[in-house]
Subunit: 293 residues, 2 copies
Amino acid sequence: MRSPITFTGNPLDRADAVRSDPARLAALWARGGRLLQMEGLEPDLDGGALIWTEAGEAPKCETVFLGLDVSGIGHFAPVPAPDQASTAPASFNLWQALNGMDHGEIAIYGAARALVGWHARHRFCARCGGATAPAKGGWQRDCGACGAQHFPRTDPVVIMSVEHEGHLLLGRQPRFPPHRYSALAGFVEPGESIEEAVAREIFEEAGVKVRDVRYVASQPWPFPSSLMIAAHAFADDPALTIDHSELEDARWFTRAEVVEAMHARDRGEDGAAFSAPSRTAVAWHLLADWLED
Amino acid sequence: MRSPITFTGNPLDRADAVRSDPARLAALWARGGRLLQMEGLEPDLDGGALIWTEAGEAPKCETVFLGLDVSGIGHFAPVPAPDQASTAPASFNLWQALNGMDHGEIAIYGAARALVGWHARHRFCARCGGATAPAKGGWQRDCGACGAQHFPRTDPVVIMSVEHEGHLLLGRQPRFPPHRYSALAGFVEPGESIEEAVAREIFEEAGVKVRDVRYVASQPWPFPSSLMIAAHAFADDPALTIDHSELEDARWFTRAEVVEAMHARDRGEDGAAFSAPSRTAVAWHLLADWLED
């Protein structure tokens, strides 16, 4: 049985219509609204559970509206100070904590982190340099000087497994944990489709030409604001030309090696041909999808 | 035979490694480099063909590096003044011109338009309000004040056909031409997958719950910087609750009506149940994909 994709499954109703209704937002805040407790971009946790405080009693900081729960209670998150909103990957502590958290709570936190981080990093207008102010419950910022409207940013990233005669191409970035190999990845650029971005990135990083790119799955990834788009592709020629400015290494692994690495990761064991990506990452799903096929 | 997707198929090599090499960029500019002739964000055209000038002779404006052609010649595009870089959809003239343009040239122009428009609208640092300067051949802007790096923005948008018992759900926005119906669409938000965005948008705009979301195709769309992600989904209950702040109308069309509308659009005829989307739009491919299935 395939695990659900981490950071999906947010149980809150985003209630788009509420966002543009300041009176309703104020009422939701005052009448039992809940404010997510965060330190900068990291969640405060109580035994792996998110901590919510009564919104009405909390200090009046800048907040975003996350949505409504099934009882119609408004959920909010606080925007951190700019110096507390880095674009760094998840901290080791957060990474560990995700394993013990509820699937839906991870998704609520992920949406909150991406959104409040965007606010903290977008206090000024890219068009004119003027100060911006939050609007639409935190789903927009407006420039007080030139009137430009700005919307939260979501960056599409392609991440892909490549197959050649029963082998899978995986690579390692210098920042990876020891022995970790995972699917190659890169940002989709202006002017290209998902399929073109997949082919370009694999050729840039590993020198491999691919065909028959097939979409597999997607995942919101709030470090800081990516949409991971997972795909599978085939290569006819396995010769590698590795771009060492991007990758420390890239190798073709056999199906048996991938099976062993996935099992070893589930059992917390060492000794496989490589250390497989975490179940938290959509790369895990790419490998699982390949093994199922 | 399916037409290729408009704005894909850029024949230039993006040559990522060249971007970070100012000396090589300068040499490419000086030695036969070609500068795309544009008026603001619109292309100058000669009988439907893009017009290129010798880069070395052109005025020294801010430019971006588009890539290399098969002969290794550098291709560049000029960044317009901020007041010439609106986020409006394609002009009527451009829309008409696309029909007569070469597929690869449309893709070169689309990439150029998205990228130079981003520069014109991002002259200041969203983090601190300081002035930014282009870097990496135009694929980055750096803040002179706080040092933040900024990258071109690409906004993922889902666009989807919904099926119920042989009928297809299409809607019309107030800005559409008369009788035009097309696939529903909306921006992917922070914290949701493609599949979740599809379900949310259809429910928000038409009140319809969907299942079995299937990815179909993607398209870069430079008005101003979208990545269109086309999907198909199924609905069990066809009852519609239309959000009239988003849609003027939404209706279920029979297969025969969709076939007739696609044929009428190809023959330039009126009289079908609705006016089908242009072949230029990925919505056309969604409808064609549905009819083929």
